[in-house]
Each structure stands twice: as C-alpha cells, then as structure tokens.
Symmetry: C2
Subunit: 199 residues, 2 copies
Amino acid sequence: MSIPAPSSTTKDRILEVAVPLFASAGFDGVSMRAIATAVGIQPASLYNHFPDKQALYLNAMAYAFADKARGISETARAPGSPEARLHRFIDRFTALMAEDPDFRRLLQRELLDGDENRLRLVAQQVFREPFGAISALAQDLDPECDPHMLAISMAGLVLFHFETAPVRRFLPGMRVEQDSPSVIAEHVKRLLSRALARV
Amino acid sequence: MSIPAPSSTTKDRILEVAVPLFASAGFDGVSMRAIATAVGIQPASLYNHFPDKQALYLNAMAYAFADKARGISETARAPGSPEARLHRFIDRFTALMAEDPDFRRLLQRELLDGDENRLRLVAQQVFREPFGAISALAQDLDPECDPHMLAISMAGLVLFHFETAPVRRFLPGMRVEQDSPSVIAEHVKRLLSRALARV
DNA sequence: CATGAACTAACGGACGTTCGTTATCATGTG
DNA sequence: CACATGATAACGAACGTCCGTTAGTTCATG
C-alpha cells in the first residue's frame, strides 16, 4: 500500500503497526502490550516515544489521515463541468475508501466515540478543506440545494455501502459484485446524476 | 419512548439500563459493575439473570431492536403510489432514528465491531424483513436499478446525516436546522424523488 | 421449608504505567 | 587513534487498579 521508508524510525514503525490495530479494535480494544508485541519491543519501550496511550492514539490518527484530506479536496476542485467533476470525485472517493479500510474505520469510530476535542481536531485539520471543496461542487451541481447537506449526502451514499458490507452478506438479494468499488461508484454516480440533472 | 410495564422484572430493568450504556460506550466500555450500579444492585447479582456479559449484551441488543424491525417494514409496505410510499418511509425512518439514538448507535457499533455470528443474527432476525420491504419499494420506484443497492442508498442517505452530526458542528456552512429530523427528511425526499422520477 | 434472588468477599488476570538498569552509538577530547 | 561522555532507546520487573466471574451466605416469599 505505502512504500516503507528504508530508514524508518521506531516511532514510525509503531504508528504503522498501531493504525490497523486501532482501526479494527478501537482505543480500548488495543492494549499497549499488543502494540508492543506487534512492533517487536517491550511495552515499556513505547513510553520512550509517546508520553501515554492517548498521545499514541492521536499520533496514529494523524498518521492515518495524513494526505487523505489533500487527495479528496484535489479531486473535488479539479476543473471541468460540474457533472464531470462529480463523476471524478465519486470515482476517486470510492477508490480511496476501498483501498484504505483503516481510514474509513478510524473515521467511523471517531464519529461514534470521539470526544469533543478529538472531533474538533479531526474536523478542522482533516475535513474542513475537503468538505469545503465538496460543498462548492454541490453548489455548482444544484444551486437551490443546501450545499452542506448535499455534500453530506454525496459522501454518505458512497460510505454507507462500505459500512454495511459486513451485514449485507446475510441479507437477501446480495451479489458479490455489489461490494466492488466500481459498481458502487457507478450506482452512486447514476443516482446523483439523475437527481441533480438541470431541470 | 416505550411504556414501562408496571410489573417489570429485574431482568427487564437490567436490560433497560444496559441498552443506553452499551449504545454510548460499547461492549468493552461498559463494565458489569457499571451496569449493576446503574440498576442499583451488586455486580454479582447480574449473574442470577444472565450467565455472562456476552449473554447480557445479546439480550440488550434484542431488547433494543425489538419491534423496530416491524415498524420499519410496515411503513415501507404500506399501500399507495411508489412516490407516496417513499415519502412515508423516509419520514418514518428519519423520525425513528431521531427519537431512538440508542438503536442507531448500537447498529453502527455492530457494523464496526460485530463478529460474524452477531451480524448474522442481527441480519436475519432484525433486518431481513424490513430490508426486503425497502428493496421491494426500491424496485417499484426504479425497476432498472439494482433494488439491493438502491435500498442501501435510501437508508444511508438518512443515516449518514445523523452519523456525522457530531463532527458537522465543526465544519463550515453548518446551521442548527440541518440536524432537525424534518429538514433531513425533506432533503432526502427531494433528492430521491428527483433521482427516481419516471423518465 | 424450599427456592430464587439479593448480598459480601474474594480470586486471577489484564491493563496502563513507572522504575532502575543496560546496551548502542555518535561525538568531542587527550 | 584511543577513549571517555552523553543521549537515546531498549529491557525486565513491578505497582496499583479495574475487570469478569465465582463462592458462600442471608433473606423474603410461596
């Protein structure tokens, strides 16, 4: 997924290992001992790099979210007609969520459990800029619609298909292709294009 | 919300207290001692009613999800034109999520952390029927569209606005009215009506 | 008197964290 | 070049706390 730097510091290796652990089990579900074991050091050694578990978690979040924000907003701000920008955004956003499940899971975990400070931090440092870009795109697509709400709807349409994948397996009418990123993207693009077509 | 039975057993009182605790802090975030304290009994007494914590959690889930399934599927299956049924479903579904945040949080927690057994249980005993109803409505609305994916999209459009509420507070363009159930319902209905209008 | 549900007390284990020590290694000095 | 120095990061061991759970006991109710 990401090219491991040849001269990676221990601190980076800890974060690299901690991100998927936190993404899959949450803050309370991952012990310092588990992280240390995964890195291959003793638990006490973690405290040479981070003052406490909370700091390690925040650094892991920042590590996981790095450059994601820029990637999203760039695709939304790219030139072209609103429809073309919409399609490019949906394609890219879907691919991003498919290729980095840790990012999506960390995000949804924060939405459930994040305290006010963490949520403000994530909102301002990660989502403010790309969300502004999506909102601007939304306004170009349908000037009469609240751009804030339309932006949320656009992102939610994509995300919810990933979010529900583990339970959709057990529901009727499920076909494996419905989990494929390209199928999801096509479905969302079709829905949004028709909803937002100039009248 | 729900009428408390006058002759409620201790078992019911435990579940009643455990549901919001589990909904807000998750399985690992709620100790047996915390539940016992909230009920007003000793931790050991919980084991007179449930063999272990896992069983208590499963019963709490069943308790929280009871009758929700029936409520959802009834609104989706009600008679009328597809458009009218869509509007009624969105209205009712939105109201349901707004008035019972515990249900929504428990659901999203399961989507994140539920193991295969729990997810299958939830899918088959809670969502199979209402999801079928929504899918049927989706097929009536747009026979050319995959009803499974359209049903997911319809639910996701509503849910994502609630899910992101805690972080939207810190994003630009936010106005308080965007958290109101009726505004969310109107937004979603408008979007879906236009997307699914007969060509 | 039998039964079920409450109590008090405690067990064993996992957890976050701290402590004192050791090993590695780049750097400055004779 | 040889060697002391200081910083960094690893280690093993332990502390205090909280957890899920169990055991044994009391007590009210039928």
